[in-house]
């Protein structure tokens, strides 16, 4: 039964969306790219997360190395050590990368970046050029490393239907405790303890709540007052609100004592500072250019940048969409001001 709903898809529409590439090369467009070009492109578009040599930064995926480790205690799964099909790499880079700027790479750029990833895994030489012509000739080391789901055979003994109900084992000992290395987020641990304390000490709740707030306020004003004099004028409420907003930035930026460059540069002293000054941080080309032209992160400039990073500076590495509310922007700037150095 047909309902006659929808309309025929036009060839141009199918061409725009049907981009997936299969292991046999179906879907690959004509084109080529060299390891040499790939190195440049990788450095510009990929290295911020994956490292200059595809070795990975922080928790971002490592794309190279790990060959021969799959049976180890902690296997390192990379394109070279794990991925069975080269088509998967091409397809993913072309459609889903770079992170925060997807679907911007041309076919030739993609061939070049994939060639460089192969080179970083010692799978091709430095003069290699990858194209749709030689694509299927590349051999992936772990191509034969996969079997189709065999749980129904390999785990047939889990279908027991009548499991043991009594005296199923001699003795029971605790062999491992999560508390030993407890990696549970601290917020909930703290909350659990607070709850237990509250339950065992039934004091009037109104008063307790007021005291808590007072204590928090005191803590904030101490923090805010401690650094330099100029920050003494900061509104502690605003700083506190800004700390919350900064959670959105934390994935990439650090601020405060011991802050380091992460995916984004460290932000100590950023308000009022010249742009592009974090040591050893690899800024985008446009940020470097803006720095050379003397961009200073005044509160106004920073506010404009934070509202819509990509509109403010086309080509910035900052993949953040922007802070929608003016209040949030002012709060986060106040928070950043509380770290003058």
């Amino acid at each position: 039964e047909k309902f006659g709903l929808g309309r025929p898809a036009l060839p141009e529409e199918i061409a725009a969306w049907d981009l997936d590439v299969s292991p046999d090369g179906t879907g690959l467009p004509a084109g080529s790219g060299s390891v040499e070009d790939g190195e440049m492109l990788f450095s510009d578009h990929c290295a911020i997360c994956h490292g200059d040599f595809a070795e990975g930064v922080d928790n971002w995926p490592k794309l190279a190395g790990g060959q021969g480790t799959l049976a180890d205690k902690d296997p390192l799964k990379t394109v070279g050590s794990y991925w069975p099909y080269l088509s998967t790499v091409w397809d993913y880079v072309h459609r889903s990368m770079p992170f925060g700027n997807a679907q911007t790479l041309t076919a030739d750029d993609t061939y070049a970046i994939v060639a460089y990833i192969l080179y970083s895994n010692d799978l091709v030489e430095d003069d290699f050029v990858l194209s749709n012509e030689n694509f299927l000739e590349v051999e992936m080391p772990n191509a034969d490393g996969f079997i189709i789901d065999d749980r129904e055979e390999a785990e047939a003994h889990f279908w027991t239907d009548t499991p043991c109900m009594e005296n199923c084992k001699e003795s029971v000992e605790i062999t491992m405790r999560a508390a030993v290395l407890d990696v549970t987020p601290t917020e909930t641990r703290a909350k659990k303890v607070q709850e237990l304390i509250r339950k065992t000490k039934p004091e009037p709740r109104e008063d307790a709540a007021v005291e808590e707030v007072k204590a928090e306020q005191a803590a904030v004003s101490e923090e805010a007052a401690a650094p330099a004099e100029e920050t003494a004028a900061l509104d502690p409420e605003l700083v506190k609100a800004g700390e919350k907003v900064f959670k959105k930035c934390k994935a990439c930026h650090q601020v405060g004592e011991g802050a380091k460059n992460k995916t984004g540069p460290l932000l100590n002293g950023i308000v009022g500072a010249a742009a592009g000054q974090a040591e050893k941080y690899k800024y985008s080309k446009v940020m470097k250019a803006a720095a050379e032209e003397g961009l200073v992160w005044s509160e106004e400039e920073l506010a404009a940048f934070l509202a819509k990073p990509k509109a403010y500076m086309k080509g910035t590495k900052m993949s953040f969409a922007g802070l929608k509310s003016e209040e949030d922007i002012q709060a986060v700037i106040a928070y950043l001001k509380s770290f003058p150095q």
Binding site: E1, K2, F3, L5, G6, R7, P8, A9, W17, D18, D20, V21, S22, P23, D24, L70, K73, V79, Y82, W83, S87, T88, D91, R95, S96, F99, G100, A102, Q103, G145, F146, I147, I148, D149, R151, A154, F158, P163, M165, E166, N167, C168, K169, V172, E173, I174, T175, R177, A178, V183, T184, P185, T188, R189, K192, L196, K199, A251, C252, S319
Partner: protein, 389 residues
Amino acid sequence: AGPDPLITQVQEWATGTGDGVDATPYGLPIRFEKDVVRRNVEWLTADTISSINFTPIHALDGTITPQGCAFERHHSGAIELRKEDYRLMINGLVDTPLVFTYEDLERFPRENRIYFCECAANTGMEWAGAQLNGAQFTHGMIHNMEYSGVPLRTLLEEAGVKPEGKWVYVEGADASSNGRSIPLEKAMDDVLVAFKANGEALRKEHGYPVRLVVPGWEGNMWVKWLRRVEVLEGPVESREETSKYTDTLADGTSRKWTWVMDAKSVITSPSPQAPITHGPGPLVITGLAWSGRGAITGVDVSIDGGKNWRPARLAAPGTDKALTRFYLDFEWDGSEMLLQSRAKDSTGYVQPTKAQLREVRGENSIYHNNCIQTWWVKATGEAENVEVS
């Protein structure tokens, strides 16, 4: 103890008035419940844009997960896509490639079905040992909702699948695209193209306006912001079905196409985030059970680490590929317990121990850890995540 002033004295709320209607045109839980929220484990991933958080299953009851606290998993962040801007394309090995608008989808005959959605990595951090103290973190990559939508079969039939078509490739409209290949047999069976969950529009974080529902199969295949279904001869072997969501065994070979989620259960209370606070006496032990292969037929509970078991009471008979709530109404004597639950499903599958799983799969599988969980409940009522012999 003297008389309770909460009873003997007239309370403020019994004298004055409360909020009028419309105080919250779309309500949120009362402020006393603000702890019942999704939580993230920051060290797990590099960035919250490509990450996961966890359903607070320790604080919920029944089986339906409210959308507002149902776990989220994004690969390039949760996007905003208006119904007016939504398009769904069916192409590939079909008689007529088609494009549907959101409005078109609402004109097809619709179904309502309750299914669980579990991330293949749920309990994945526990492969090598007990790590996280809380059912939310060990088992919270799951939710269970009532979906309203159109069978994918209906849309494929509208386009007309050619005989050589054996697979479909489904992809989302977000920047990750997150494509997965699904055998045509499953696509024509129970897969839904859903636009409502628990009666209301999908939330942004769950794929508004349209997501795929792939009952019983790993959550990664439930593509959000679904924009295209392509009929193919073979699988695409995309990034999400080769480099991820494949299960590496002890010898270094890896299983692929491990789509089905095996039978599994967990006691949600008592548990580390839900300690016993009332002392000895009547105690409700409760938890959740589910199977991607069919319906839950029974759950057994052990208080001595798996030496002896007793059947729990199912709140309702298990239904196909949906969560089942179980209870053990128990008289606690105040002594330590090693609490476990063990699910059985309609195919005769019995949830294995961690040792049984490791024996077959080693410790590097990451995905599909459906082992029996142990909570060590101490005399104080506090509970800890442990492993037992």
